[in-house]
Symmetry: C2
Subunit: 248 residues, 2 copies
Amino acid sequence: MARYRLTLEWDGRPYMGWQRQAHGPSVQQVLEEAAQSIVGEAVTAHAAGRTDAGVHARAMVAHFDTARELSPYRMAEALNARLRPHPVAVLSCDIVDDAWHARFSCIGRAYEYRICNRRAPLTFAKGLAWQVAVPLDAAAMTDAAQCLIGSHDFTTFRSVHCQAQSPMKTLDRLAVERCGEEIIVHAAARSFLHHQVRSMVGCLVLVGRGRWTKDDLAHALAARSRDALGHNAPPDGLYFTAANYPEN
Amino acid sequence: MARYRLTLEWDGRPYMGWQRQAHGPSVQQVLEEAAQSIVGEAVTAHAAGRTDAGVHARAMVAHFDTARELSPYRMAEALNARLRPHPVAVLSCDIVDDAWHARFSCIGRAYEYRICNRRAPLTFAKGLAWQVAVPLDAAAMTDAAQCLIGSHDFTTFRSVHCQAQSPMKTLDRLAVERCGEEIIVHAAARSFLHHQVRSMVGCLVLVGRGRWTKDDLAHALAARSRDALGHNAPPDGLYFTAANYPEN
């Protein structure tokens, strides 16, 4: 038996998210079917994080086990060949110890949220960024973001469907960067609540538009209530960008 | 009568190029139909440069005339509304003197060519970059590019369908930049021959792969023959990025 660790990139537009769903295509299904067609046996894939419908990945980490052993290079090549024409690619592949687990061994996750801050409709970035037509004050967003960093009860920024046992999370990084007409929000933590990044970004955009002050954001956090949420950003702009492990 | 100058962005994947074609959709057709539906009369659009099928634009400049005068802001908004769902957007719009012409007044044009230098298949960048799976030496490409800069007979790098009267062109800039797995080639000139950028990039990639030396590239240029061309890069990676005018 060999455990293959994969780094995956995918365009989330056609998918219901990572996890298998009865009502539509998922990245997990596409990957498992590609792997099964190579190894000739049922395969179950595990990822560092689940993602929502329409959310993208630049470097998701996943693994699966199989009795059929190929070199990591040949496995990556075979998977990429079978994944065509799906917009899912294996960026790297290695064989790891079977004590290692893509989800349970993961000690850090990072996301980027891409905002296209312009009046003109999106062309290349359609479905790949959140278009905000009114000018955003990125400096005000950076300033306000500071109150979310650290350990807090993030109930306000948590989906009603969240399965986490506790709403307490430690946010290690929340940085706002303007690059021309784009604003990128970088978020990093050991783990996140369901919808946490999108909910934080939605509220930061209220600050950037001048509708909320930094204090409004702090009060929303302190309220520990979904009713205090200002806005949940759409999935289009969200990218899973890194999973970190102790060996790294 | 008012002459409207537009800056346009488009994703070239669905189009036969800028110019109207009998056998498929073009950006000119999509733009003219949007304008006509606003002004209620026939409209002819002119662009700073024609582009091939599958080539993109980040900032193409074009103009059209109409007897129906709207403010530039309202014209841009109306065009963007009518252009949906086409991946063509008006980034800016103004009214200009009717002595000004998008093509004939243009004194400088710039392109970028995007290469994705990686083994894994493209996901987000499919149709938006040229994937080159073998490692490229960007420094060697930069070095070789120097021999193409300046005034030369570019017959080697010219399509057989090129309509220019002379193969002499002055290349002002040809720079190769590596950003992670991407290599961007920047090209600027008063004007280019048909396929010139793609043909230069195709040969620079031969240098980057180690198949051609800098001298091979210089000899190909000196041959002044299409037979000496090493490789023509696909349209996928090509972006029209700027048109310059005396007023700018």
